[in-house]
Structures are given as structure tokens and as C-alpha cells.
Symmetry: C2
Subunit: 429 residues, 2 copies
Amino acid sequence: MGPLRVGLAGMGTVGQGVLDILERQAALVARRAGRPIVVTRVASRRRRDDVDIGAATFSLNPLELVAADDVDVVVELMGGTDTALDLIASAIAAGRPVVTANKAVMARHGNDLLATAQAGGVPVLFEASVAGAIPIIGSLRHGLAANAVTSVAGIINGTSNFILSAMTAGADFSAALAEAQRLGYAEADPTFDVEGIDAAHKLTILAALAFEMPFAFAAVHCEGITRITPEDLRSAARLGYAIKHLGIARQTPAGVELRVHPTLIPKEHMMAHVNGVMNAVLVRGDAAGDTLYCGPGAGSLPTASAVVADLIELARGGVPVHTRSEPVPAVLPIAACSSAYYLRIPSLDRPGVFARLATLLGEHAISIASVEQRGEEVHAVEGRAWVPVAIITDRVQEHVMDAALAALAALPDVVGAIVRMRVEEFTHD
Amino acid sequence: MGPLRVGLAGMGTVGQGVLDILERQAALVARRAGRPIVVTRVASRRRRDDVDIGAATFSLNPLELVAADDVDVVVELMGGTDTALDLIASAIAAGRPVVTANKAVMARHGNDLLATAQAGGVPVLFEASVAGAIPIIGSLRHGLAANAVTSVAGIINGTSNFILSAMTAGADFSAALAEAQRLGYAEADPTFDVEGIDAAHKLTILAALAFEMPFAFAAVHCEGITRITPEDLRSAARLGYAIKHLGIARQTPAGVELRVHPTLIPKEHMMAHVNGVMNAVLVRGDAAGDTLYCGPGAGSLPTASAVVADLIELARGGVPVHTRSEPVPAVLPIAACSSAYYLRIPSLDRPGVFARLATLLGEHAISIASVEQRGEEVHAVEGRAWVPVAIITDRVQEHVMDAALAALAALPDVVGAIVRMRVEEFTHD
């Protein structure tokens, strides 16, 4: 069998990482792949004379890779969803295998793309689209294949995790964001990261693989990290929790929960110790139990490591089958999802307040797991003293909590907006 | 393609777990494998009427599986190295694929077995032999295939980790061992676990895969956990470290380090938070950087999860190639390995002692990274007061430390046996 000939679209950091690995580790890659892997063509919408592409042919038109007779696989590393989608769809239509790191395209168009690919027997591999270097897609496809996966929970946006780690160390949101931007961890427009959209893309892909369900990006409940305050981080810490931005996918008898949001997790759990730009994914399987995968979620060589792993798999001849279980599970609206909650209630500093808060929660069948009332944190509003009361509840459905919060807000004791965040103890199914 | 027909040898907890998964998740397994996987024969050296083997034929002779005309793959879950080795070798010789969880057989006989298997094109899969449910072998073979792995460090013996976790919480070694035995985590004869032999088996397998080198069990430096005292755990904690039993394989320019021993690791590192019977493996790759894999290292269903994953891979038709890099690396003797060290030196409580200890270490070109001298821990020996001086050194070769320790022991200030443990900061290559 001859070499596997790669047409590479995109010369950004990941594309450069792929060129680097395939050149520097050519012998290792050939040994493991069973044959050499060589880049024959490189395409990019703008010329990059600073990047060494060896003997490869350069083109300004990525779509030329699809019909080129010296390309066996198209590697899409352009990002975005316009030309990238065109390129991937055209390659599949032409029967040409694809490797991509593009989470947005897979999350939003994966159903159509994979349906065409399956019909044509065309391999489409996308290990690099989730959690960079961590082989989480491979682990779901292969190592955990004997398991019915019941839940996946991941720290899958390094920018958000970096910002939350910095805020836990004392920075406020805007200072932490500025530092992330200075270090190249956040874009000038950080919306995709800090509003949770990037994490929702990745969660969509994880759920599709873990639960053998369609890509359901539009159904993901998505909250970012922009409203988390240093006060909440400190209050959570005193109650024994870290705040992390999690993507959670969970099987329930009523349907699948798909949600991305800030989450309190117990300090003793390993997920609480994933800091900076590191990613981590916790998978609960019915046989394996909880297995956890951590590593760099982004960066040139870590992401390229995943791209080249896909190329090696392809060169070996393993065509992954994207299986689907029947019936297709319903995705629950957020109101029907269940969670424990953290509440931070600005309450008048007067006798009987906590009893009234607790009574009201009890009337909504919400149990209190723990409470922190800080006497020293007395504030004033319109001349009256108030204190934040922080409460961790047991697990309830979100619509129950919504109703309780509306009732709480109407209490004369409550003097400001209530903060509400979900809590994940990782103890139940 | 017809079903993959399994001949299962061994009806212990793992064998029962495999029967359970293949029966309960038959549809899921068939979907992912592309065809059904059915157990047609079960063999065990003693009859087990309490185990449901469905429609499978039972035999008291595992070797009958090799020639049976209704068996496509032999699954060896007997343990031990006598009949198990016979069975695996016979199956390979007969051209029959093998799946095994047997780390002792693979670590001690893997070179011969895989050489014969490669020559005959016979797949031999052993994901379950290391770290139970954690797909670490799959991750090394597939997800990290683009990497030159520079080091692997694992908490790969759950029994030792359980005992050390219990000791960190205050128990002494014998109480912790008794508790592990009561819970079924330790054998009546715990030698294999607490002396590090089981971990050395697993490290041998990890190194063979990570470095594409021969199985080199005989060359592994192996120390267990039996000499760790509660005093050392407390002293390490005060210096900012946890003590874990690690298997470490590291590439160096001079050769490969292969060593199993108690190790101080920084409390901030995620490996320090792997507690109880959990396993974890940290892999450093030249592209991926550090990736970490955690999960249950033993147990019926977790281990069976790995066995069935191998069966699914086999059913799909992927035959793993065991690659070898050239030249074969030398394994360094422990005297040539490099490490930072923790020293606990019982020293007379008198002026100038620490200066003399530090001077002597300096004469051996050993730098001190941190020190803890506890005034309150004054002991008495032969009527003279002494204190334990705890020191963390920078990295040196073991033979340098051996010479320094001999010189330290000869100092009049030193009044008892010096404790020496290796320290792993995970910061260097």
C-alpha cells in the first residue's frame, strides 16, 4: 500500500502543528500507520510564506483539494462554518475521507454530513474537535464501547476554565478575561467561549457519540460564565465547592439532558482540580463506572496530535461506524432537567428570616443540604441591613426551582436579585 | 459476517462480568461490533453451578477451547501463569485470536507470545491487563499514536493506593491492610500488591506500548509500600506532598528508566487526588503534552468493560500491530536513574547540625529544595535529644544519592536509619 496522501486546508496554528508532526515524526507515524503519511497539498485562503510546506503544492482555493488526484484524505483545519462546511460536504460527496477539528461544523451539520458519509462509506474523523489532545472520542468509540454511557460531564472550554481559575485566585471577570486575551487563550471577541457556545458545540459531539444520538446543538441549554462574581466563588468555596463551567449530558428515563453552565462541584472531586486551560471529561458507563480524561484542550501540537491520530487510524484502514440507537431519545427542556442548586439570597438581617426562606423552600418540596449565613458580610440597602444567605439544595427539577425562586423573590425579606447556580455532586446517575 | 464466537476461560469475577455484559448488552455490543458476540464455550478448572453460562458448553479443560470448531477467539481470564500461559500460547500457535486480562503472563512472556502472534498474523489483545476500565492501552495505541511518548507514570495498583489513602487518613499500615482485606481489595497473601510486583507487571506492559520496546519485567526496579510510616506521610504533607505508589517509565538519552516505588508528588497535582482503589496513568507525549487517565483499576464489570472492548475491536476486524522502534533502548539500572529525593534524617538536636547536613549534601553536588525541621518532635536516644530533619532535594542520579547517604549515616549528628523516598514533581522531561 502506498503512502496516505493528505490535502491540508488551513495554515493556522493547528495546521502548522500537523505539518510539524508529520515531518518531524515521519518514521514513527509511518511505523504506526503501516505506511507513510505525506502532505501533498496545502490550501489556505491567504498565502503564508512563513510556513514550511515542504514539497507540497500550495493553493489559495481549499476546494481544489476535493478533486486533486494526489490527495487521499482532506484535512479541514480552517475553522468557521462557511468554506469549511463546503469543503467537508464536497469531499464526502466525492467519496474522499475527511479529518476535521471543526466542532462548529460537526455540532451544527454533523447529522447531514455523517448520513451522506455513511451512505457512501466515506470515513469522517473528528477526534480533534473536542478537548484537543485528549483522546475522548476514541475512548468513547473504542475503549468504552462495551458500556451504555449514562452521563458525560466535561470542562471543555479552556478559556472559561482559565478565567474561572484566575477568578478563584482573586481576579475579577474582566481582569481574568484580559489576562486570557494577553496570553492568547481568548479571542478579541470572546463571546463564543465565555457565553458557552464553544462548549455547547463540543457537548453536542460528545453526546452524539456517548448516547449514539443525533447531533442536537439547537437543543443544548447554554449559559456562560459572564455573570459569576468573586463573591459567588468565595461563598461556594466556604461551602466546600469549586465553580467550573461544565457541559453535562445525562440519560434519564424521560429523555436526555444537554446543558452547559457554571456548576458547583465538590472540592474533593478530581474535576475541581482541573485548572487553567486544561480540559477534562468524566464519563460514567454502566460497566466501567466513572473514568476521567484530562489534558490540554487546545494549542497547536496538542490539537495536531489528535488530527494525526485520526490520520493514522485512517491509514491503518479502520473505518469508524457512527452507530445510532433506536428510538432516538428526546432532549429534555431545561425546565424538566434535575439538579441540586446553589442559591445566594440577599436577605434582610433580622430575626426569623432564614426560617421563612427555609419554610418557603419546604413548601416547594425543596430540601436544604447546607447553608452559609455570614454575619460579617452585612450590607445596606435603603437604610436597612442585609446579608447574603447561601444555600445548597438537594436535587429538584428546574421548573420546581423556578417557581420557588419566584416565590422567594416576592418575600419582603429578600432585597435583591437571587443568584442561582446548579450543583453537581457526581454521586447519582 | 456471522457472530464472533467466544471461548471463555475462567469463571471468576471478571469472567462473570464478561458473561453479564455480553448477555445484558447484547444489542448494544452487536451494533458497535457490527455483529453479535456470543459465548459458545466456557471453561474453568472447577465447576461453578452458581454462574449462568446461558447456552454455552462447559468444560473443565480450558485447553479444549483452542481446537473447538465453534470458537473464534479465546478469552483468557483465569489468572496465574501456568495453565493461562499454556492456553494463550496454544491458541496463538493454532492461529486463534486471544483476549486476555493477564498482566503477569504478558509482562513475563509477552515478547515470545507477540513474536509468534505477529509471525502468524494472530491478534492478541490485552486492554484489561492494565488499569481495569481505563482505556490506557487503546489510548497509547490509537489516540496518542502521533506522539513520541517521553514518560508514563501511573498509580496502577489499587490495593496499594487504598492502603496509602487510609494511612494518609491516619491508619497505620497493618490496620489499613486489614481493612483492604476485609473489603476484598487485598488478597490473604498481599505480597504481589504491597511489594509492587503487580504494579511492575503493569508498568512493563505500559512501557512496551508507550516506547515500542520489548517487555522488560526483569529489568524493573521494584519497591513496595511496606516500609512507609505514618510519620513519613505527615512529614511529606507538611512539605506539600502526598505519597503515592507509582510506576514510572521514562525515556532518557542514556536509556529507559523503569521503576516502581513510593513517590512524593505535589499536592496541587491531580495525581495527588487519586484516592482509594482508583487508578490513574499520566502520559507525557511530545505533541499531546500531559494527558491523564483515571478510573477503577479492578473489579468485575470495570475489568470486563475492557475485555469486551477488545472483543468489539476484534469483531470489527481491526488487528493491532505491535510496533517496535529501533534500536531497542537499554533499561537503566536504578543507580543510573535520576530523581529528586525526600530524606528524613534522625539528627541530634544541637547547634550546627543542619549546617553540617547541608554542607555534606553540597559536597556531593546535591541541592536542597526545601527543609522541615520540627522542633516539637524531639525524641530521645541513649539519653540524647534528637529530631527528624526532612529534606527535599533537587534531581540527582541515584548513585550520587547512595554515596551521600553513606556519608550522612557516618556523621556523628545522625543517630538512626535515614528514610529515603523519591520525589516526582512532573515538571521536567
